[in-house]
Symmetry: C2
Subunit: 340 residues, 2 copies
């Protein structure tokens, strides 16, 4: 009953048939007589035999495995995307390997190499805007990768990236957030964003400006800050803003790039004695698992990350070359309140 690392030849000779017949029952072909099938299955069980997907892949040109590249798994946002993608892949009979972005990004190791050498059937890449330099470099890597295998993108993908993608319309989303805060009576609304860039019309920054315009609210430079998207960065960003402004100019609401940043903002506000949500409303984005447990429980945007991951896998496998936008949902909790 234990494994002896049998090959298809061992099974064939043990069952008294040819390897082709063993291969047939392995792949579930129907043109094998019941009695032969039984003999083969018994031999397989006796040897605890498992066909090698390596040998299989060599011949069939398909590994039935996909890859997903993402910045870092420690950010639950990406863990959710991965989980959605993984489950979907599994349902479709594919396995899925994970490649943290850092490893694709180091120049010491050509980006495509690890993916290509493993002959994956396709790859999903979660893109993240870091800097203009970096952007061009990433785009070039992606183009190259596309020569080898189908690629589907996830995230805030600029329109000029010519790839199938599952994206968020971040601009529209933040625009809606501004409208929501305005409806609560806020007029001094700050925005703690990500890396500064000017090209992509879907980015969150754009939505912030549009939202203010919609509400005929002035744009105030000191209410807008760029950052790295981490909790530490959020804490520093809002802290600096508050410290540099007289209290009467303090914003009454802040829109955080994501929940991590929002967490940092809560810490900064608390450290300065602001009571929340009374004196300061904060809204995050991504609706991480910890959002309901923060204090005050964080109002956030659920961006359906698992569905996003799953849909990307579907596009990858079906080969549809299209770009889809996923819906989002405002999840109201206690961190945003009416002014006065």
């Amino acid at each position: 009953m234990r494994s002896d690392n049998a090959t298809i030849y061992d099974i064939a000779s043990d069952a008294g048939v040819s390897i082709a017949t063993v291969s047939r029952v392995l792949r579930g072909e129907t043109n094998v007589s019941a009695v032969t099938r039984k003999k083969v299955q018994d031999a397989i069980a006796r040897h605890n035999y498992r066909p090698s997907s390596i040998a299989r892949g060599l011949m069939s040109k398909s590994t039935h495995s996909l890859g997903i590249v993402l910045p870092k798994l420690l950010n639950p946002h990406y863990a959710m995307i991965f989980t959605g993608a993984y489950e979907e892949a599994r349902k479709m009979g594919y396995s899925m390997s994970l490649f943290p972005w850092s490893s694709i990004d180091t120049r010491a190791y050509d980006p495509a190499t690890m993916l290509v050498e493993r002959r994956l059937d396709g790859v999903i890449v979660c893109v993240e805007y870091l800097s203009p330099d970096h952007d061009e470099q990433v785009l070039a890597s992606l183009q190259e990768l596309k020569h080898f295998m189908p690629v589907v993108l996830i995230g805030c993908v600029p329109p000029w990236y010519d790839f199938p993608a599952v994206t968020n319309n971040n601009a529209a989303m933040v625009r809606e957030i501004v409208a929501y805060l305005v409806s609560l009576g806020h007029e001094k609304i700050a925005f703690i964003g990500g890396v500064q860039e000017d090209k992509d019309p879907l980015r969150r920054d754009v939505g912030y400006e549009e939202g203010l315009r919609d509400a005929r609210l002035p744009y105030t430079a000191s209410y807008r800050v760029y950052g790295k998207g981490t909790a530490e960065a959020g804490e520093k960003a809002l802290g600096d803003m508050l410290d540099s402004l007289k209290p009467e100019y303090w914003p009454t609401a802040v829109i955080a790039l994501n929940d991590l940043v929002a967490m940092g903002c809560q810490a900064a506000a608390r450290k300065r004695g602001l009571s929340m949500p009374k004196q300061l409303s904060i809204i995050g984005c991504d609706d991480l698992f910890c959002a309901p447990y923060l204090y005050p429980p964080l109002t956030s945007i659920n961006t359906r990350q698992q569905a996003t991951g799953a849909r990307a896998v579907q596009l990858l496998i079906s080969g549809e070359d299209k770009r889809e936008t996923v819906e989002w949902e405002l999840v109201e909790r206690a961190s945003c309140a009416k002014t006065k």
Copy 2:
């Protein structure tokens, strides 16, 4: 400059050498003349050639890829273990695939199958105690898996699991936590634990009882509850405890199985108007990224999960059949305070 899916034969004929020579430069062998090496490298660059790890693996019997099986990535605890393991594997020249536990656990799919068919060079399994039934089933699966490839375990591994492992001595850890709380003056200390079980002497429950005994504190059944280890479960567990006890019997400190449970406990306490840490101290375990941003910032135990993952990879690759225990560190924040 673009990929044409070249094989080693294409490179060989393009460079005017034999495939053996190409293979030699590919693998960095030294006994190739400089001029030949150059010719081959040029041909490789011209075709954008990447050797197939599939074909390579078939011959060399090693895929240079490892697997890691864990319950769920959405829990940042496991994301950290994965990250540590992944980075270490990469350093050692291995790739690493992730297998969420659920997929190895379903009977529809034989646990070993996916790992074995892919001919991984080894696998790390994060074990989690779920129930006596489940425990036996898991152990059986692991034994079987061990016939096919080296296995290293991570987590709270009972001593009778005969596997190399990187473990926490949870009993000692919780014992220290109790001592810490006692040193702050606490006498009514609750414990929101995981699934009930009796066999493993390293489990956290044991440490709780030992800690109380060390401090000559009585053991009170109503202060101890079992649960699922999620935030929701934690909220319900502490909520029920508080609701069923007269306020004068309320614990002044609670030890949560992990930070998720601790988050839930904070919510339950807050909902009942307890001020923290004044009226209730809470200590978690795992020191998740959000611990500093909870309110009050959560005192927790850093269990060095990344180091754990990395060490497991080292054991796996070196083949050392030993069991190691990792150190932990108490990270004091504001959620635990002196009584009075």
